[in-house]
């Protein structure tokens, strides 16, 4: 402000405080009511998105129940205030266990890639992968979500336990395009090796700890639907 401009009359501190206080109050009412109005719909959307993803990686599943892995135990989600990795067990029309779906994450080319993968305890293999979130380069790295040849890797990707049942017998790895020889290897997308490797790393990191627990506690999963209300 230059000296020649007429100075505005001084404002009392009380008026400034009152203005900011009232504005904050109005803002609070606005934000809280928007949150309360939208919350049921947002929660329904989140449930639906999760359910869609679970049923997508577990085709054939009609119902699902969620479990928490704590201290090498599988506990039904909601019964305990337990913290841990959440897995979703999917059941077919007759209540038979189809498989479990779990989340896996790894750092991709741009950002964290979040996946939901399906694991079938009876064949000890990964039977599907669905990309929940990726920020990979459009047209290159983001093919991990859509490329049919890449997704064919996960029709029956071996995730067998080693002899003492504490970890996977062979770590899951992505190998360069056309170099896949073993059934636990993922054939990477040509030109998107970094993103493909991230998928392999995500699956390996998650399966190494989860598969031993799931195999040990598979009875908890198979008898779950009878207990469900």
């Amino acid at each position: 402000m230059t000296n020649s401009a007429p100075l505005p009359p001084p404002v009392s501190s009380r008026r400034m405080l009152a203005t900011l206080g009232i504005t904050a109050l109005v803002s609070g009412v606005l934000v809280v009511s928007a949150y309360e109005i939208n919350r049921p719909q947002i929660e329904a959307n989140q449930r639906q998105a999760l359910e869609q993803a679970v049923f997508r990686v577990l085709p054939g599943a009609r119902t699902h129940r969620s479990f928490v892995v704590t201290d090498d135990q599988l506990r039904p989600l909601g019964d305990h205030h337990a913290e841990g990795v959440v897995v979703h067990a999917g059941y077919d029309r007759d209540g038979k266990l189809v498989g479990i779906a779990a989340e896996a994450t790894a750092r991709g080319y741009q950002d964290i890639i979040r996946l939901l993968y399906a694991y079938a305890p009876d064949c000890q293999c990964i039977t599907g992968v669905y990309v929940l979130r990726n920020n990979e380069t459009p047209g290159i790295g983001d093919k991990i979500a859509t490329d049919p040849a890449f997704l064919a890797n996960f029709r029956a990707l071996a995730a067998r336990l080693n002899s003492d049942r504490t970890a996977l017998a062979h770590p899951i790895v992505a190998v360069k395009h056309g170099k896949k020889h073993a059934e636990w290897e993922i054939d990477a997308i040509s030109g998107a090796t970094v993103s493909s490797r991230a998928v392999g790393k995500a699956l390996n990191d998650s399966a190494q700890t989860l598969v031993p627990v799931v195999q040990r506690q598979v009875t908890v999963l198979t008898r779950a639907p009878q207990e469900a209300p």
Partner: protein
């Protein structure tokens, strides 16, 4: 009024069609003023995202301008920026929840740019330069015009980028399976190419009109 006051616009001009159209075309925030470039470049990789971002910004613009205009005689100049930011942030949070309720896919696609509407210079600019000095109706109409103008700008970019970068519009394939998408159009450089091409075309059209020269168009160059 004979006594000069600090207010440069003491008299309220009548509400005309121009109050609305000013922001849509002559002072279009994207295509003429070059404001709000950060969300413009970031979310216009598909028509749907562009439209959603434009409408979300327009809602915040109209809501905050209405409230700023309503409170214009009560808010002392010393705390006006803080007050405007709180008002804008509140409307942005409302939009944030509304989009989560409408579609989580859309919310994921727009990412952080919904929250960043708070610092969008178009909105703070309108609050400071227009709504703080005009009656509510004027402010709402003007904000609606600027909101439509911003949406129009984003849609013009998003439409072209989706058409060339994915070969589709609103997710519907246009060119058939034989089309090889120009991936570059979905990446940041594509945004600059398309915006540059639109500006070239519009300035050329403006220059052809008799009595108008491209040099007379006010060009503001702000960062965001």
């Amino acid at each position: 009024m004979t006594v000069p006051t600090g207010n440069p616009l003491p008299e309220v001009p009548p509400l005309t069609m121009d109050t609305l159209l000013q922001g849509v075309w002559r002072e279009n925030p994207t295509l003429v003023m070059m404001l709000g470039m950060c969300p413009t470049m970031a979310v216009t990789n598909s028509l749907r995202n562009a439209l959603a971002m434009g409408l979300a910004t327009a809602f915040v613009l109209i809501g905050s301008n209405a409230l700023v205009s309503m409170l214009r005689k009560l808010v002392p100049g010393t705390v006006r920026i803080a007050t405007y930011i709180v008002i804008i942030a509140s409307f942005t949070t409302v939009v944030d929840y509304a989009i989560q309720a409408i579609s989580l896919t859309l919310y994921g696609a727009l990412g952080a740019f919904i929250q960043l509407i708070v610092v969008n210079c178009i909105i703070l600019g309108r609050a400071e330069a227009y709504a703080s000095r005009r009656p509510v109706l004027h402010s709402v109409v003007n904000a609606a015009g600027v909101g439509i103008g911003f949406t129009l700008g984003l849609v013009m970019l998003g439409g072209v980028r989706e058409l060339l970068g994915s070969g589709s519009l609103l997710g519907v394939p246009i060119f058939g399976p034989g089309f090889q998408p120009w991936v570059i159009m979905l990446l940041p450089p594509g945004g600059f190419f398309v915006l540059g091409s639109w500006l070239l075309l519009l300035n050329w059209l403006r220059g052809r009109r008799p009595g108008a020269s491209p040099a007379s168009v006010p060009v503001h160059n702000h960062g965001r």
